[in-house]
Symmetry: C2
Subunit: 198 residues, 2 copies
């Protein structure tokens, strides 16, 4: 076997993208090489920079280029309301869909004891420190409406209760078993307005 | 407006890939950042290298890292048979699907006078020089079975006729109006076997 050609290497590297199989990776490679080399070069450049420079916010754990994300650094956001989500994508979805003025906490997943993902792995020690600061008055649990998301919400609710912090859970309109990231904006806005005491 | 964040730049750079809209670009960016930074780094590296180092074969015009592609440099390929295709993807498709032992010529498109794409833009001057060398005895026209592909095939047939070179056209089984790249291997093999005098 000769070593794979650069074209073959490119096709195989493109398959790291979600939803991209052998056939579409091939189409992408040919498209860039034959019709959009500038686009390919730009993608390479931004990709390298993003992989190196984007870390996590030290306060809310979302993806951020700086130690403190733009949202946490914004004095106009209400620090007494804290919306808790599983992923940065969920946070972005909420920001785009509704007029929420509070802050966020991004878990980066959900509790999954069988996979070794306990409270610490999703930053709950960090979240408890934040509760201890005393500034947070209400948490809005916006974890996914799945079994794992519900269990995670329950766990965080118990933590908040110990600290005498009010807990609400987004509820109405979010279809059970679905992924928050794929819910349309109107449904999500409705779920937010219809949140209830946990 | 603040300048776009690196995350926003990454999402927009990913949209240069064919078939990738705003929503899947966002999913890809989050996937790489949260779950596959090594994959993202590798893609960036290979992409940059491919955009710089992959050029075109000086003989058959296909994509190639070296001045002469592996196939043109292979003494076991029959230089008397020349299969003419529109794109490197079509060539790759034929190589994968059937046991063809001849050589190729890659046009890089088809005649399209309204878009300013004439014979020279698809390398037909170069192809005629190759005909003049006298080595080619048969050309197999494997341009797309579209109106433009047929017109291009007709034009090349006329060129070959002047040079007394036999012309065949792949025919049976290739669905009219379709793109060669998306035809399954069996259909393509059938079309090859069933080729007829042009
Ligand atoms: Zn933050
Ligand atoms: Zn070649």
């Amino acid at each position: 076997m000769p070593s794979p050609s650069l074209l073959q290497q490119l096709i195989s590297a493109l398959r790291c993208l979600p939803g991209v199989g052998a056939k579409s990776a091939q189409r992408m490679a040919y498209h860039l090489l034959e019709r959009d080399r500038d686009g390919g070069r730009e993608l390479s450049r931004v990709l390298a920079q993003a992989m190196e420079s984007i870390g996590h916010c030290s306060r809310c754990r979302t993806l951020s280029e700086s130690g403190l994300c733009r949202l946490c650094a914004n004095p106009e956001r209400d620090p007494t309301q804290l919306c808790i989500v599983e992923t940065p994508a969920d946070q972005a979805m909420i920001e785009q869909a509704i007029d929420y003025r509070g802050c966020y906490f991004v878990l980066g997943g959900h509790l999954s004891p069988l996979d070794g993902i306990g409270p610490k792995e999703i930053g709950l020690d960090h979240l408890d420190e934040r509760f201890a600061e005393g500034e947070v008055k209400e948490i809005i649990l916006a974890t996914n409406p799945t079994i794992e998301g519900e269990a995670t919400a329950q766990y965080i609710h118990d933590m908040a209760e110990t600290r005498k912090i009010k807990t609400t859970r987004i509820a109405q309109g979010v279809p059970m078993g679905g992924e928050l990231e794929y819910v349309d904006g109107a449904t999500l806005a409705h779920a937010f307005r219809g949140r209830s005491e946990f």
